[in-house]
Symmetry: D2
Subunit: 347 residues, 4 copies
């Protein structure tokens, strides 16, 4: 049995990792750690995880995490590097934070305003790069993996096939995405309380201000093989979970609807978790709730000359914890789908 | 006292008109009509409108509508022309349907596939045209007015100031908007039942398929004074009311943030219902619930070279019934704000 | 013009009072005060109240409140007495807190654990007392009024007619009520954030622990003219506003359905804000959203021998701010319904 | 491998059975059938069930169902008997409809107004009977099982321990329960569309009118060993899934809080799916979403002399499909928890 610890288990991302690990046939859940919640019975914070309700949260530190085969980090940004350095190199570390996602130090310091920690293999196996290679190849056997942000997962998977195939232009991509409020974590800010969130929508980080912007642009640049530019507007939607990403890019000259569809089919026909819906069907976040799936659809709008691709994911599952477990599977040489939910909880 | 009839009062738009008229100091509510629901006690369909709960719905026809000073039509498209022709020319008719909104017959037949009925003055007083003139001028004293679609209202108001001022380009505008499910009317389609809608988001009419697309493009073309093109993706959000429209357009060469803000301030500083929020504040649909207000904010994204403007409205109030009553006020020479809710019901 | 100040305007109750006063033809809104939010532009906290968005919140104190004809207090419990004592006796003070609601000092100290402040006339005009008299009589010309709790309003109005008429027993009343999350105020507790609240229900204060319990029992005792006992379970529902109160009591011996209905009809046939629905129609919180109405329905369950009465209200309007303004109207000799919303915002 | 067919797979209950069976290690999903939707690709109706998306629904009939080891029936009431009679006796039939739940013919005809089909073993293993025996004993090896209604599951499990232990009285039980709208099935009635359901609560079937009432009373009577009477009020809550049942009964003479807690602990300490929460913690429907768990809490309200017990379940999982699979496990001699989700999907 492989043992795994989860640092930051009291947050939404950490608890979701625990949920998935409890259903994983090859993993034994070990230490669960937290900072402010250390010493608390886990069931008081995560009553949905009955099997480990009586586990007491330990403080997050290299001491409590060492001794496990796998360590998942679900910490605020800036906290992962010190922990990672203190753990032996043979431990598989899966970081759900932002610390090792970017490869441009300038982007990091502009958006995060802390020292740049470096770059780890990017835990989005299905994401295609220019030339057709996917990020999966970087993950097999890796001991350090950076899990993508929840928005970049849906957004990158939505549009990358067209960039890699050259059927859309990487300049002037426009993305508007809606996220359920768990995307903000267990934060008790005034604008996130139920009475404010329910029944209403609002944007935030408009104008390139959201920290996931450079990660999205980097992914598109990798897919296109030349610089991409993105206008990204995230919005807060009145639902607990789910991201719906609407992405558009200018169609390349002379591209028709068949060429567009072919590009997406080529990218995803063999992928277990990324599903291009039948023509005419559009993604619905409810259909992927609690699952590791991404539903994608694409069309060519002849009127405007833009390709529109839409992706739906569960921000906590495929958007975070599912990607983490999927990356772990690849890292450890397990079948990639092991233990991961293939069906959504709907309606 | 001015008397007003509402045709189609059993639908959401019609009932909202009744709600507003009940609070209007100069209007006496007369006949309420319906098709399938004729003969029903209104309170059984609209228990929130206590003061007219015991009114019995009459069948929709010129006979039941004639004799009122004002007639509001909230009917499925294709039904307004016959009614309008049968009513005397001095009756003020406010049509909340699509029938008289477009001025391009080809657009009409492409999107609606029925005979073109014509074009009436467009009931969006605050919408600017190239040159700076607003649609308000067409409405004063008019006897036939076409109320805009709910999406075009939010979307056009969001971006038109920049087009009229020349600070953004009319080509390659991208719009993604989220609407509460009342936007689909009182329809009992399987994908609109509560269990499907709650907790989830999905797009529809993607790729230029939504019937509001040509209306939006026409409004942008009028604002810019030259042809606009739009990629429009509507999405269904888990809330009863509200539209959040995220609109983006390429900034014109050499435009800076101050020029952008100045264009929007110029357009809306004197408008009672369209409010440009203070810098740094973004629209929230909950803040305009039940009101006739549109909240707008705009920014220049230097990274992508796009201007992003966001508008929030209540699709049933300012998006439909409020615009209808506001248009009526202008038509009748009443103060424009008479009887219209200036505050939202929040949280 | 009558001037009114609102203390605690940054909370949900306070802001709702401001919303109603802005629509009141006889009131001029004066000072808006807050404690922690003093100095803040009101529009940053309450963007739905555009007309006073630029008002700056003053600190809550007798100094900032004095000089107005009416002062509304929307403060945490324990804060009203000192303010009230420092204001002249001719000022009409409407307290939305709990401080002056109870008349049993022991109940107060048991549930609130602070010194007992006294008892003011109870601002629930429609609430019947044994003998048929209503609380309205206490409010005409009063200068100090205690606005009821949001739960007690719906619950007491639901069942009091049967108690006063003797058709139900006051012992062993059982009440289960669901409230939207604005009932908890603008509190940022972890269990109130959107991700926790949406899509889920939970009870709280079970077993008589909720502070509204003694107020409910007192109201029922007053209605019955002999001691009532109540099992009260409040639950948190995934909606921003609204209370649905399901109340049941044992039918008195020999009572039939006609006698039950007659009791409720007698109590409410002349009330402008409390509406007994037609037989077969049941209350829906959405129908009273934003209005000052309470919808009530009642039935006799022959199988169990219990009468079941259900009431729906908007917890912030009739449940708090609407009752405050209604009480003010009575206190000042204005028509009771002046300025109060008679229609809900639905759907 | 054991093969299983699902009749009525296009409804919410049927689709949920499919979801659970896809995760069951011993079951192979066979025919999926429907009536009106026969011939449809399953993925068009249940896009969340990717692994069987391309299965085409067959018509529901003995011919399409025969040949499987297990047949699940998720049909409107009145349809199960004919199918069951046409299938061989050795086939394990699990009926999720009401047809075989009741044992009193008079109750059946009063509430369902169709011929009485008979009584099958009741698929609620954890439900205690007077004397302490549980229904589990009826299910081991059974070939015909009637799955309980969604409300009776939560409600009966909430209160039965106290009845069996004699710490509460079976007369004058009062139950108010809230259900998510999937409890109404995939019905497109006007009051179930999203705009009506979201943001609002309402009761229905008040006064003993709900068809689950006799089933609840029967269960309580079995638990108490003497006639129980129940006032049951169901309410519709703005959430897709989940039931929160608040149940109260008069405490027996001389009972104290310790005796109450002991009764519930005794009943559930060894149950894998029914979890009595630690003292002070109350059930939250979100915590059991998608799981087969029921969370229960109980307290003695000294003030009113009533015991209040609250249960939360997912109406589609433990409330229907989970109970069906759990019953199947018992019928086939598999470990009772096989393939059933032990964790909720939260937040």
């Amino acid at each position: 049995m492989i043992t795994a610890a989860v640092a930051g288990a009291s947050g939404y991302a950490g608890a979701e990792i625990v949920r998935l690990l409890l259903a994983h046939p090859d993993i034994e859940v070990g230490a669960l750690t937290a900072s402010g919640n250390a010493g608390t019975r886990f069931g008081d914070l995560a009553p949905h995880l009955q099997p480990v309700a009586d586990t007491v949260l330990q403080p997050t530190s290299a001491e409590t995490l060492v001794g496990h085969d796998v360590v998942f980090l679900a910490l605020p940004h800036g906290h992962s590097a010190a922990i990672a350095e203190a753990l032996p190199p043979e431990v598989t570390i899966i970081d759900c934070g932002a610390d090792f996602r970017l490869d441009d130090e300038q982007d990091w310091t502009h958006y995060y305003d802390t020292p740049f920690a470096g770059t780890w293999p990017y835990g989005l196996p299905e994401l295609v790069r220019a030339g057709g290679d996917k990020h999966r190849t970087d993950l097999v056997g890796a001991r350090r993996i950076a899990v993508p942000g929840c928005y970049p997962t849906a957004i990158s998977l939505a549009l990358a096939p067209g960039l890699a195939a050259g059927v859309i232009e990487p300049e002037d991509i426009v993305v508007v995405a809606a996220s359920g409020s768990s995307g903000a974590g267990r934060s008790t800010k005034p604008h996130l309380i139920g009475a404010e969130v329910m029944g209403a929508m609002s944007p935030y980080g408009v104008g390139g201000g959201h920290r996931h912007t450079p990660e999205i642009e980097r992914n598109f640049t990798r897919a296109a093989g030349r610089p991409a530019s993105v206008s990204f507007t995230p919005t807060l939607a009145p639902m607990p979970r789910g991201i719906l990403a609407t992405t558009t890019a200018r169609a390349a000259d002379g591209v028709d609807a068949a060429a567009v569809r072919a590009a997406w089919e080529r990218a995803y026909s063999d992928e277990p978790f990324v599903h291009l819906l039948p023509e005419g069907r559009w993604p619905h976040t409810g259909s992927v709730l609690g699952s590791n799936l991404v539903h994608v659809q694409v069309t060519l709008d002849e009127r405007s000359g833009r390709v529109v691709a839409v992706a739906a994911e569960d921000n906590l599952t495929k958007g975070t914890a599912g990607a983490a477990v999927q990356s772990m599977n690849l890292a450890l040489g397990l079948p990639e789908t092991t233990g991961l939910p293939m069906t959504g909880v709907a309606p």
